[in-house]
Amino acid sequence: MEAPSAPARLKLVERRPAREEDPLGAEHMVLQMGPAHPTMHGVVQLTVEIEGETIRSAEVEIGYLHRAFEKMSETVTWNQVLPYTDRMNYISPLLNNVGYVLAVEKLIGIDVPPRCKWIRMLIGEMSRITDHLTCIGAGAMELGGFTPFLYAVKAREYLMRHIEKLCGARLTTSYTRIGGLMADLPDGYGEELLAILENVEKEVVAIDRLLTRNRIFMDRMVGVGTITREFALQYGITGPFLRSTGIDYDVRKDHPYLFYDEVDFDVPVGERGDNYDRYLVRLEEIRQSRRIIEQVLAKMEPGPINVDDWRYILPPKKDVYNSIEGMIGHFKIIMEGIPVPPGEAYGYIEAANGELGYYVVSNGQGKPFRVRARGPCFAIMQGLPKMIVGGMIADIIPTFDSVNMIAGEMDR
């Protein structure tokens, strides 16, 4: 039979907040920033009500990058969720890969070989550096400092190329697997990485010299976007944002996963909880990540990278093409997915912007029953209006930059 006729034109909903009348008759103005705005990285809409240059109220509208990650995860096998995870965070995708597999491995109860753990730490820290460089560079650029941005992107590019060497992609990495990794590190990867980090350090020093004691930069950053510890806790804010208020919560230290308890590193904290402290925390974390990478490379030993269990890891191609056992193993993992016992688990790691958690539920099938991603930006963006209200309109930019919003992770 015929399809029903098209529905009547949908009613547009009035979403603007009620305008508050000024006793002197001066009108407040409502200003839209985004969803496509030169200083808005990622698509998000800020509706601010201003009185002169002062922000009286603000509202954040998210969802522009909602791509149904959680729904799509329920339609593919456990391993096929991985490409979605790196598309959720286009600045540090490797960290998202690691976070997801750790959650699923927790649910299955498998322990990956030591080399695999070291490599996961290594790639995680590389990603953390690229993430912080992006945040600092873009933040400086939007305050008029184009040179630090170029330095940051140059340094990031060294690492991106190295990541490309690892897995063939700069952003769409999908490098981890449940129970292991896509492949071992290429030959000489560690030595090259050390040389690269040396170069990255040079750029970081240059950025440091250009920005940290820069009068203009400090004027825009110090005392702007300040949050208190209580506020951070109330809103569930984690990562550099939380640490800028002086709380030294870092998942790597407080709930060590992989081998983070075997390496030596410091957790930098701020005092005031303002944009400047967040900048300093990120800058220091770049250096700490380098420390971790150096220790990882020193401690890492050759060995297997995958668990020795055909139920989770694809059989070697030699077996797939030459033995029926390998063929069936391959077939079953690809077509039906790996067997994950019924149950639920929450795996969490310290991503570049805070705690990244995955809550996975299995009903014993080859496909996830539910995958929930807890991105750190969601909580921070929720608190953003409180940070900018009462300030000047120009201060939105550095504050919003310091959130380092990853819309993919927030909207999923």
């Binding site: 039979m1 269990d309 030459n322 029926i324 056992e325 390998g326 193993g329 077939f331 079953k332």
Partner: protein, 527 residues
């Protein structure tokens, strides 16, 4: 009654039950290849061996009857180890061909390998090669290399069909399945061996290389090939039906289906009437539903000397559809004569296939009530010029003579799933969707009501017949409140004596016998 313990759970079963059956009752999974609940048990695959306390070695659970006080372990270390070693041996000579094997995705070798082994083989010997692509007849193809020699197919022919075309030849690891010289599989029930085969050794030429099984959606339904109404699963993907598989119903078809029925799914994909048509200037043209229904209403209303309208109910359509047209006729057209017609009979085989080729002859008659005519009275009524208009449901007529007579009726409205000859001669042809594309019920020749369910979406712009009746009634000035087939069924239960007391929910997977009908014993032979 012997009481035994299986993996710590106690169960009491009738004497003569095997360990495997008892374990199944408890929900314990024991793997097996050669055992089949409708065939004899040779216990030759050895996959179902279990540990029994005090027994010196592992026992085949499919063959060992339970004894009082028995203590069975189905998943002990010893059993798991044996299952794994057995899988290794079964896979020893298996070709590496899952990507081109039709069984892949529903293969017991794959399933059990994943569940009970999932390790690389420890054996490293040259595989024995055997013949491949042997056409056994009746569209069944054998790949002897994939065969695990479980003999299910041999037993099927011997015990169910009663012939011996297949046997195991040669000795030892060179043993292979094959046809006896000069024999081939006869058309009739041969396709069942494809379902019976636990691996990819026997495949159907009709399905081979056409569709991967994991894409198929499965909808339980009833075969519309003949009046037996064998229980089937319609397997379809993206609106196309790819095969029927038989479904267990002890009272109707056990687990078998005849070849003609199983291959009748082709009809769903060929020659369909996809849109309503109206005759304009001598030719049928596709129009919108609104226009077609208005034209149909005009044709049926054509006033002409007080002669009645004839409505031919369809033995191919569901009870609900027929009921909808019965009400339509009674409440909008006034003087109506009802007839029931369907397809031409074929020859029954005394096993499953019966001579009546329509799935719902009995249902249509019951719904129409007393005084319903058949094809013969229809012919005489037309010849005598007693009808001013004719509404033919289903688009099928049993004989060329009737077809010719019906074709002469000027005001002929036909609802049809296919472009049948009579649909081409109608004034208005309304596109109905096939049985697999709608919900409803059929009543088989034994008097058993069985449900069909909507699988693929209706093809083209076709729709279920009851919906056509609903909208045609609107054009004729009567609004019925039917929302779906279940609502119609409830209405039938109130108005048709044979259906009294039934509800769509109360018809389970096995169907329900109508009042006044007794369950026939399973048909002759052992099918």
């Amino acid at each position: 009654m012997p009481t035994l313990r299986i993996d710590g759970q106690t169960i009491e079963v009738p004497p003569g039950t095997t360990i495997l059956q008892a374990a199944k009752k408890l929900g314990r999974k024991i793997p097996y290849f050669c055992y089949h609940e409708k065939l004899s048990t040779p216990a030759n695959c050895r996959q179902c061996l279990v540990e029994v306390a005090k027994a010196p070695k592992l026992l085949p659970s499919c063959y060992t009857p339970v004894a009082d006080g028995m203590e069975v372990f189905t998943a002990s270390e010893k059993v798991r180890d044996f299952q794994r070693r057995n899988m290794e041996l079964l896979l020893l000579n298996h070709p590496v061909d899952c990507p081109i094997c039709d069984q892949a995705g529903e293969c017991k070798l794959q399933d059990y390998y994943k569940a009970y082994d999932f390790k690389p083989s420890r054996l490293n010997v040259r595989p024995v090669h055997k013949p491949k692509v042997i056409r056994l007849g009746a569209k069944v193809v054998l790949d002897a290399e994939r065969c695990i020699l479980c003999t299910r197919c041999i037993r099927f022919f011997e015990e169910v069909v009663g012939i011996r075309p297949l046997g195991i030849f040669k000795r030892g690891d060179r043993s292979e399945l094959g046809l006896y010289p000069g024999k081939e599989l006869p058309h009739g029930y041969a396709r069942n061996v494809v379902d019976v085969c636990p691996v990819g050794a026997l495949t159907s030429e009709d399905f081979r290389f056409r569709k991967r099984v994991w894409f198929l959606e499965k909808t339980p339904s009833i075969c519309n090939g003949c009046a037996r109404g064998c229980n089937i699963v319609v397997e379809h993907h993206e609106g196309v039906v790819w095969r029927y598989k038989p479904r267990l119903n002890e009272a109707v078809n056990q687990v078998w289906i005849c070849d003609d029925g199983a291959y009748s799914y082709h009809e769903l994909n060929e020659g369909r009437l996809l849109a309503p048509r109206v005759r304009r200037d001598g030719a049928l043209v596709e129009v919108r539903w609104d226009e077609a229904l208005a034209a149909a209403a005009d044709a049926l209303r054509a006033a002409d000397g007080g002669r009645p309208v004839g409505i031919v109910l369809s033995a191919q359509a569901t009870c609900e559809a027929n009921w909808a047209f019965v009400r339509l006729g009674r409440e909008t057209l006034g003087d109506v004569h009802f007839y029931v017609a369907g397809r031409t009979d074929w020859e029954g085989d005394g096993l499953l296939k019966v001579s009546d080729r329509n799935p719902n002859t009995l249902g249509a008659r019951l719904v129409a009530g007393e005084g319903v005519g058949d094809a013969a009275t229809l012919l005489s009524d037309i010849d005598a010029g007693r009808l001013r208009a004719l509404l033919l449901v289903g688009g099928h007529l049993p004989a060329p003579a009737v077809e010719a007579a019906v074709g002469r009726v000027e005001n002929l409205v036909v609802t049809s799933t296919h472009e049948t000859p009579i649909a081409r001669r109608a004034r208005v042809a309304l596109a109905a969707c096939a049985f697999a594309e709608q919900d409803g019920t059929f009543v088989n020749f034994q008097g058993r009501v069985q449900r069909i369910r909507r699988g693929p979406a209706p093809q083209g712009r076709s729709g279920p017949e009851w919906k056509i009746a609903l909208r045609l009634a609107q054009k004729l000035g009567r609004d019925f409140s039917w929302t779906d087939a279940s609502a119609l069924f409830r209405e039938m239960a109130e108005n048709v004596p044979a259906f009294a007391g039934l509800a769509p929910e109360s018809i389970g997977d096995e169907g329900v016998l109508l009042k006044g009908y007794t369950a026939e014993p399973a048909p002759a032979g052992s099918v």
